[in-house]
């Protein structure tokens, strides 16, 4: 059984080839760490899977449906590398809005739990326009987790977070995976990669490693070892 399947995925921008024939499968409940040097194609892969980009050739399916289709969007939560939030909605209004856009009417308990775990309860009624970078990232995380999903795609989600928030996010990912959802996250944090069930290393748009990885292996793959 496969939640996400990429087959011969090619994405190019003009002369630059971001992904070059990538083929990969993600099973339900797995936690995949996507690693690679800057410009390797990690964000492109996540955006293709989220349906934000369209492949030059090849295909990505989510539970058998083309990425970006309504059925795929029901299943997929995307946490972008740069938080995209409305300046004229409070944080709690964001959570209500996103949950209801996904057909969720009983959203309040889930929202309160997320706000509490991410240390955002005191700022729930504030619009995120005045938040610090870390606070905006936490708000974006709450938005990604408040809705139901079977697959979460996260692009550098730990960047800008303090250690307690990092732990909170890690436990959210672990709970999601334990509940049967799949997690695919791009990261440079070695300790996060070690906790993943699989590590997928991409370089110059191609898979260069697929399997479990320890710190030394990861450091070698991202070019710091």
């Amino acid at each position: 059984m496969t939640v996400l399947e990429a087959v011969d995925l090619v994405a190019s921008y003009g002369d630059h080839v971001a992904l070059n024939g990538l083929t990969y499968k993600v099973r339900p409940g797995s936690r995949v760490a996507l690693i690679g040097p800057n410009g390797a194609g990690k964000s492109t892969f996540l955006r293709l899977a989220a349906g934000l980009l369209e492949p030059t050739s090849g295909e990505v399916t989510i539970d058998g449906f083309p990425a970006g289709s309504i059925e795929a969007r029901k299943l997929t939560s995307y946490l972008p590398d740069t938080p995209s939030l409305y300046d004229d909605l409070s944080l709690v209004e964001h959570l209500e809005y996103v949950a209801r856009l996904h057909g969720e009417t009983d959203w309040e308990d889930r929202a309160n739990d997320l706000l509490d775990r991410l240390g955002l309860t005191d700022r729930a009624q504030d619009p995120p326009g005045g938040f610090s970078k870390g606070m905006r990232q936490k708000a974006s995380i709450a938005v990604a987790f408040v809705r139901p999903f079977g697959l979460i795609l996260a692009d550098e989600p730990f960047d800008g977070l303090d250690p307690p928030s990092r732990e909170a996010l890690d436990s959210l990912f672990a709970e999601a995976a334990a509940g049967g959802a799949s997690v695919v996250l791009a990261t440079h944090h070695l300790e996060i990669v070690e906790r993943a069930s699989r590590c997928l290393a991409i370089d110059e748009g191609e898979v260069v490693y697929d399997g479990r990885a320890d710190t030394a292996e990861v450091a070698r793959l991202v070019g710091t070892g």
Binding site: R47, A50, G51, L52, L53, E54, G68, I70, E71, R73, K74, T76, Y78, P80, T82, S84, L85, Y86, D88, L89, E93, H94, Y97, V98, R100, L101, H102, G103, E104, T105, V143
Partner: protein, 513 residues
């Protein structure tokens, strides 16, 4: 799920609108509307007064009837071609980044999510078209037979349809995802059809029929009904809007947010850079031709040519078209609508803002230039040479267009055109240099009683200088009207313009140190 989601979308948009209204200072808003209405009325009556009350002669009326519909159709075709170009790049919808990552990734039909935004954009372009059309109708009423109300109404209706056609064609192109090249080709076809109508003195294109609608007060309203087929464009656009590419929408969303802020600050340079990014108008990797000659002498001159020779084709075409537009406006000014001198000056300023790229790059990277072993004033002065050369070329294009349009042909305009070209080019470049040098008109750090006056001067200075550059043309016309030679009027005015431009340049050099 989709029903709940769609309901949530509607409720939240309503809530956001309510919040925006709640934060609005109504007294301030009403006051602004009041002041805008008064100023608009004054400006309209002022323009009407100076447009030149000379009614057209029977021969001129005959020419207006012969070419007017096709020329109007060319404007409509230009709007459609521009819309197709925008749609080919993923436009025209302006979304917030959160709209893309939150709403468009939600499991609700994208057509439902985007239709409201598309309707708002159509409404705005229709309104803008109406305003421009009514102003054009107002200008036409000053010289052509027919009632004032009829001209303003015809201009307004044509303007609304043209505005809707612009956004509609962009929505269609982005909805069916025609590539840039295909969009460009279709746009060229639409324009070509109108040009064929103009040259063949026929009326076959729907755009030409719409041009007839604009001329309804002298043409009648029998045949223009065919022009209304263009209304199908916005309707088709609304039907196809769900096909808009998210990738393009996300790119546009990020840049548009910055663009809005830059416009608020009246930061012309940032607006230019963002607009280039929006249209993916980067420099060529290889120059059209390599700069030759010894590298040691005239490094700034050489560096500026290296930049110019990497201009993409779209920028070259735009500059040439702006030169042509300046020529058309100058011809119309010469033939009895003097206020269009301002339009010629503004077209040249827009071209000069591209031509002055070398100096603008220095302003964008002050650290680089501050490390050079030369004074900043020395550098700025040398950066003006290439733009002036380029702008003289642009003005020559204007003279050629003027020659093609004018009753006397090229020999009739060559003398006055060449005398007017240098001051026009110099003034436009100096205006652009001032714009680059002073930066954003609005500086939040500048407060106090004079802050608004300073911001106004910064914003108005460059366009005023550019318009001043075209004054020799007006002076020549006045001389001709008084049975004097055109050169007798243009010559002294050209010297005066060059003197003013030199004085302003000296002030810029002093400011730059």
């Amino acid at each position: 799920m989709a029903r709940v989601g769609t309901q949530a979308l509607r409720e939240m948009r309503r809530a956001r609108r309510r919040r925006a209204y709640a934060q609005l200072d109504w007294i301030d808003a009403v006051y602004r509307v009041y002041v805008t209405a008064i100023l608009s009325a004054l400006a309209t009556s002022f323009i009407s007064g100076i447009v030149g009350g000379r009614p057209v002669t029977p021969a001129e009326l005959s020419r207006a009837l012969e070419f007017g519909p096709a020329l109007g159709g060319l404007v409509v075709a230009g709007a459609i071609a521009a819309g197709l170009r925008s749609g080919g790049r993923g436009g025209p919808l302006v979304l917030l980044p959160a709209d893309v990552t939150i709403v468009l990734l939600a499991p609700i039909p994208r057509a439902v999510a985007l239709r409201g935004v598309a309707v708002r954009q159509l409404r705005f372009s229709g309104f803008l078209g109406a305003v421009i059309g009514m102003i054009a109708g107002n200008l036409a009423a000053q010289r052509l037979p027919g009632s004032y109300a009829a001209w303003v109404a015809a201009g307004g209706v044509t303007g609304v349809i043209t505005g809707l056609a612009f956004t509609g064609s962009a929505l269609v192109a982005s909805g069916v995802r025609v590539g840039r090249r295909v969009a460009g080709l279709i746009g060229a076809g639409v324009l070509g059809w109108s040009v064929a109508d103009l040259l063949g003195r026929t009326a076959t294109s729907p755009a030409t029929f719409l041009g007839r609608l604009a001329m309804a007060p002298v043409h009648g309203v029998g045949t223009p009904i065919f022009g209304f087929v263009i209304i199908g464009l916005p309707l088709a656009g609304l039907a196809l809007v769900g096909g808009t590419s998210l990738e393009a929408a996300l790119r546009q969303a990020g840049l548009s947010a910055q663009l809005r802020f830059a416009v608020t600050m009246q930061d012309v340079r940032t607006v230019i850079l963002l607009r280039r990014q929006l249209s993916a108008e980067g420099p060529r990797r290889r120059p059209w031709v390599r700069v030759w000659g010894p590298a040691g002498r005239g490094p700034v001159w050489r560096r500026d040519w290296q930049g110019v020779l990497r201009w993409p084709a779209a920028r070259i075409l735009r500059i040439v078209l702006l030169g042509g537009a300046a020529g058309v406006a100058a011809t119309a000014a010469w033939e009895g609508t003097p206020v269009l001198v301002a339009l010629a000056g503004l077209a040249l300023l827009v071209a000069a803002l591209d031509a002055i790229e070398g100096l603008a790059q220095e302003a964008d990277h002050p650290t680089l230039s501050s490390m050079l072993p030369v004074g900043r004033g020395w550098l700025v002065l040398r950066h003006l040479a290439v733009p002036v050369t380029v702008m003289v070329g642009v003005c020559v294009v204007g003279v050629a267009v003027s020659g093609a349009l004018g009753p006397g042909g090229l020999p009739g305009v060559i003398g006055i055109g060449l005398i007017a070209a240098l001051p026009a080019a110099v003034a436009a470049v100096v205006g652009a240099a001032v714009s680059v040098s002073v930066g954003p008109a609005i500086n939040p750090l500048e407060i106090g009683p004079l802050a608004n006056a300073v911001a106004g001067a910064k914003a108005a200075g460059p366009p005023l200088l550019a318009v001043l550059g075209v004054v020799p043309l007006a002076a020549a016309r006045i001389a001709v009207n008084h049975d004097d030679s055109a050169l007798a009027g243009a010559g002294p005015a050209a010297v005066a313009v060059l003197f003013v431009a030199a004085t302003v340049t000296a002030a810029v050099l002093l400011r730059e140190g």
